[in-house]
């Protein structure tokens, strides 16, 4: 199965990184740091937490990359599995200390907005505020599908769930989010 988004990394780069080649590891870091940070940021809601988790993810990549084997598992999928595990650890450590996303995210845009943009921005902020109220698997699936723009097959590999189940989860996640947004 050919991946649309995943499977884009040059495997020779991964092989070099497996030999603890700092340059190759640095290139992998540069390739993925923005995407990993973005995903984590939308999940944890705070810039500092997002930075901590992102760094922990890449530390884990460096220490565990020797165990990675390309047996139908694209490198990106392996990476996002680490991201999800790290987020699980993060929430386990911070159980009971949840910070509402609407309190955490600072949206600073001093330029005056046209009416339509104001509406969009309000809805955007509403989505960000409601996202943490969804179950974690729903949050993941929404971010993978609409922010990372992965195919259902690719999401199924990362989440280790059948494609059909991913499809069902996706529609449920959207329905739940719409309910929360009163749409």
């Amino acid at each position: 199965m050919r991946m649309k988004v995943l499977d884009q990394v040059d495997m020779s780069l991964v092989e070099q990184a497996k030999q603890s080649d700092k340059e190759a590891l640095g290139k992998l870091y540069d390739l993925f740091v923005d995407r990993v940070y973005r995903f984590v940021y939308f999940r944890v809601g705070l810039r500092e937490d997002a930075e901590d988790v992102t760094e922990q993810v890449f530390v884990k990549v460096v220490t565990k990359i020797k165990t990675y084997e390309d047996r139908g598992l694209p490198f990106e999928a392996w990476l996002f599995r680490i991201v999800r595990n790290q987020l699980t650890d993060f929430y386990r450590a911070r159980r009971g200390k949840n910070v509402a996303l609407d309190e955490a995210i600072e949206v600073i845009d001093p330029t005056p907005l046209p009416e339509e943009r104001v509406e969009t921005k309000l809805q955007y902020e509403a989505v960000l505020a409601q996202l943490p109220n969804l179950p974690q698997s729903y949050q993941d699936i929404i971010l993978f599908k609409f922010v990372e723009e992965l195919e259902n097959e690719e999401i199924s590999i990362i989440m280790e769930k059948p494609v059909d189940q991913v499809r069902v989860l996706q529609s449920r996640a959207i329905a739940k989010l719409k309910t929360l947004l009163s749409l």
């Binding site: 603890s20 700092k22 590891l25 640095g26 870091y29 540069d30 740091v33 923005d34 940070y37 973005r38 940021y41 939308f42 810039r47 997002a50 930075e51 992102t54 760094e55 890449f58 530390v59 990549v61 460096v62 220490t63 995210i105 600072e106 949206v107 969009t120 809805q123 955007y124 989505v127 960000l128 929404i142 609409f146 922010v147 723009e149 959207i174 989010l177 719409k178 947004l181 749409l183």
Partner: protein
């Protein structure tokens, strides 16, 4: 409305808030890549420990193999006869188990007395039975069969070896010789 929601969700992709700061990207990169050196320095003890575990396993296998082979040799030697290659092993093992210092030390005084009374003929035995051969007699002296009775006194049985050889055998042979033929035994 779904498409509207999707549009909003997709706009998150380009959100400025969701971009890491340049300083974080740079500093985290340095810290992450430093882990490569840290990891390399941690490899040596891990290898040392794995070698130690391997050596321990080898030693354990070696000791078990020695015990298994040794036990097999001793067991097989138990069935050997004089002249066999393993007979010296059997003899050595028997000697070792029979003359074990622990076994000697474990013998109680009562057991020692009983052993001595069996080994030494009672002075009350009739002359010629047990002890030295009677005066004026030559030849082989046979030890009587001595069996201790329930009270512990050692008495000779009636059917001693001498009785068998000097009385029973001649009588049996004489009975087999037809009448008229001179007897072998007087």
């Amino acid at each position: 409305m779904k498409s509207r929601l999707e549009t909003i969700l997709k706009s998150m992709q380009t959100s400025e808030d969701a971009k890491p700061s340049a300083s974080f990207v740079k500093n985290a990169r340095i810290r992450v890549l430093n882990q490569v050196d840290t990891k390399a320095s941690m490899v040596a003890p891990v290898i040392g420990r794995s070698v130690g575990i391997m050596m321990f396993r080898l030693a354990l296998v070696f000791v078990l193999a020695i015990l298994f082979i040794g036990g097999g040799v001793v067991y097989t030697a138990g069935f050997s006869a004089p002249g066999d290659a393993l007979y010296p092993v059997k003899v050595a093992f028997d000697r070792m188990t029979n003359t074990s210092p622990r076994e000697s030390a474990a013998e109680t005084p009562q057991q020692a007395t009983t052993t001595a009374s069996i080994a030494t003929p009672s002075p009350s035995l009739p002359e010629g039975i047990g002890g030295a051969p009677p005066a004026g007699q030559s030849g082989v002296f046979f030890e009587p069969m001595l069996i201790p009775d329930p009270t512990g006194t050692v008495v000779p049985t009636e059917n001693t070896v001498r009785d068998v050889l000097e009385v029973t055998v001649p009588d049996t042979v004489n009975k087999l010789i037809p009448t008229g033929v001179p007897k072998i035994f007087p």
